[in-house]
């Protein structure tokens, strides 16, 4: 496991600040989304293969922990997209490759992601409260 220990341990001591945070968040949100996506493809496929199981799967998705996870998933999908656009934009504009500008761009990505996520989180949170706690 030495091959895993070195990069993971190194990332604790390497002080890359914003650039490194953007990188780790990009990986984390990407891997998290892929995990959900894999499950999501398989559970949606049950509409054709085992329709009875689909009702079951949907019932699980309606549970409170899963709906909270869904709200987090939406943030992951938004951040991964916005940060991906940032990376593509910087690749197109080499004149922007300055440490200060790169550092600031991470905060723009975070701000924009949160701004896009808040209305979605509000609507999903309201749906969660109405259906799971108020019996709507």
């Amino acid at each position: 496991m030495a091959s895993l220990r070195i990069p993971l341990e190194g990332s604790l001591y390497y002080r890359g600040r914003e650039g490194q945070w953007a990188y780790w968040l990009h990986r984390l949100t990407g891997l998290g989304t892929l995990l959900f996506l894999t499950i999501h493809i398989l559970d949606t496929s049950t509409v054709y293969f085992f329709p009875d199981l689909y009702q079951h799967a949907i019932a699980i998705y309606r549970a409170t922990p899963f709906m909270l996870g869904e709200i987090a998933l939406v943030f992951a999908v938004i951040y991964h997209g916005v940060n991906g656009l940032r990376i593509a934009l910087f690749d197109l504009l080499p004149s922007w490759w300055e440490a200060d500008r790169q550092r600031l761009s991470f905060w723009w990505v975070v701000g924009l992601s949160v701004l896009l996520w808040l209305p979605a989180a509000f609507l999903m949170g309201r749906s969660l409260v109405v259906h799971n706690f108020l019996g709507g």
Binding site: S3, L4, P7, R27, G30, L31, T33, L34, L37, T38, I41, L42, T44, S45, T46, V47, Y48, F49, F50, P51, D52, Y54, Q55, I58, Y61, R62, M67, E70, L73, V74, V77, I78, G81, G84, L85, A88, P94, S95, W97, E98, A120, L123, M124, S127, H131
Partner: protein, 134 residues
């Protein structure tokens, strides 16, 4: 404008010959599919998760949606591009940590098979449509 240290050697925007191999194609696929996935995935998430919501989704809802050919094509594009983008991303992450040539090869074959099988399952479901519950 002051020249940044990263580009001062040859000036910004210099061209570098890049090899035409699998990794170049995979990199380009990640970039183009990534840009495409922003509208594709965001619209899907906005409609299904935010506006419709999981409490309104059931077999009838899926059947109604898939009655329109356009939505089946949309879901097919989602399946093809999201999963390929995600699995290749996972391959990139694993290649950062896995050193051994044999382990890498085994993981690549495993990922390729998982990608093909799961994509095929999803594609059969989209083409086949909603079945009748027993």
């Amino acid at each position: 404008m002051t020249a940044s240290p990263l580009t001062s050697a040859e000036g910004p925007g210099r061209r570098v010959a890049r090899p035409r191999n699998f990794e170049t194609t995979a990199w380009l696929f990640m970039r183009y599919s990534g840009v495409l996935l922003i509208p594709l995935v965001w619209i899907h998430v906005l409609i299904q998760d935010v506006l419709v919501g999981v409490h309104a989704i059931d077999l009838d809802y899926v059947a109604l949606r898939w009655a329109t050919l356009g939505w089946r094509v949309y879901d097919g594009a989602l399946l093809a591009f999201t999963f390929a983008h995600g699995m290749n991303g996972l391959r990139n992450v694993l290649n950062d940590y896995v050193r051994g040539r044999r382990t890498r090869r085994a993981l690549d074959i495993g990922l390729l098979l998982a990608w093909l099988v799961i994509t095929a399952i999803g594609a059969v479901a989209i083409v086949g449509g909603v079945g009748r519950p027993g």
